[in-house]
């Protein structure tokens, strides 16, 4: 059985990218400004990570040119949801491994008393 860390996806397993997918998984779509504010990153940094995710097919982005300022809306794809679920599952398994009791903590069975022989 492979260690769950081997199932972590490099496209997903990055702070901003994981945050983007997690945020988008709960909504229909979010705009660039909202993602930037929620994840506490800069325009350039977020733009770079969104490009990575889009090239991997995990999100789609559309530009809305209505109004004075155009807005970029971002939406998670089905592939993105699957990738996120796999990442979450792998992380859960890693947590389970870390939190499992070690040998030193596993209670030893109490030895039964035997008559001493000298």
């Amino acid at each position: 059985m492979t260690h769950p860390s081997r199932r972590l996806d490099d496209d997903v397993h990055q702070r901003v990218r994981l945050g983007v997918l997690a945020l988008l998984s709960g909504v229909t779509r979010a705009d660039f400004a909202q993602l930037k504010a929620t994840l506490g990153t800069t325009d350039g940094n977020l733009g770079q990570h969104l490009r990575v995710l889009e090239e991997a097919g995990l999100i789609t982005s559309t530009k809305d040119t209505a109004g004075q300022r155009g807005r970029t809306w971002v939406r998670i794809t089905r592939k993105g949801r699957t990738a996120l679920q796999r990442e979450i599952q792998a992380l859960k398994e890693i947590v389970a491994i870390v939190e499992a009791p070690t040998d030193a903590e596993t209670p030893r069975p109490t030895p039964t008393s035997r008559p001493r022989t000298t």
Partner: protein, 171 residues
């Protein structure tokens, strides 16, 4: 149901609370078995208002949540309530005719609370069930429906206010 979607549930709760508030006097005036036109008009209006609210909120917040779950649910609840009412009428069951529709809504809220793991919605469902139980002894069907409608209106509007306050704390 995402946390974001739960945070905006106060609006459809408010709308449905007002619909029940309007239903109460109408049940006494036009008779409880003639409320179908009222529900048709209010359902269409409520759907339009909810869709517009979510669209506007999405534009201002930069986060859009889907409207269709609310629309589908409100349609399903209304149709289910109508079926219960008509079935009760045909079977000459005052309970099914007068309380059945409200129990359908209660069941939906119970299901929501489990899916969304929402204590708010669970409490709403329990109070709704209590309203139905408290109204059961009322012998007159129209009076029973009006009482249940008032009770449901109170629950929905109070819940909407509390959830709006809680949601404001999320931002």
């Amino acid at each position: 149901m995402g946390r974001r979607r739960l945070a905006t549930v106060w609006f459809p709760l408010s709308v449905f609370g007002l619909i029940y508030l309007g239903m109460a006097p109408l049940a006494l005036v036009v008779h409880r078995n003639h409320l179908a036109p009222y529900f048709l008009v209010t359902l269409i209006s409520a759907s339009f208002l909810t869709a517009r609210h979510y669209r506007r909120r999405g534009d201002s917040d930069g986060i859009e949540t889907a409207v269709w779950p609310w629309l589908a649910t409100s349609i399903a609840m209304t149709v289910g309530g109508g079926v219960a009412s008509v079935t009760g009428f045909r079977l000459h069951s005052l309970f099914l005719n007068s309380t059945g529709p409200f129990l359908v809504v209660t069941a939906f809220f119970l299901a929501f609370s489990a899916i969304a793991r929402s204590t708010f919605l669970l409490i709403d469902a329990l109070i709704m069930a209590a309203v139905c139980a408290a109204a059961t002894p009322i012998a007159n069907g129209d009076n029973r429906v009006a009482t249940e409608a008032i009770g449901f209106a109170f629950v929905l509007l109070a819940s909407a206010r509390l959830q709006h306050q809680a949601a404001t704390g999320l931002n």
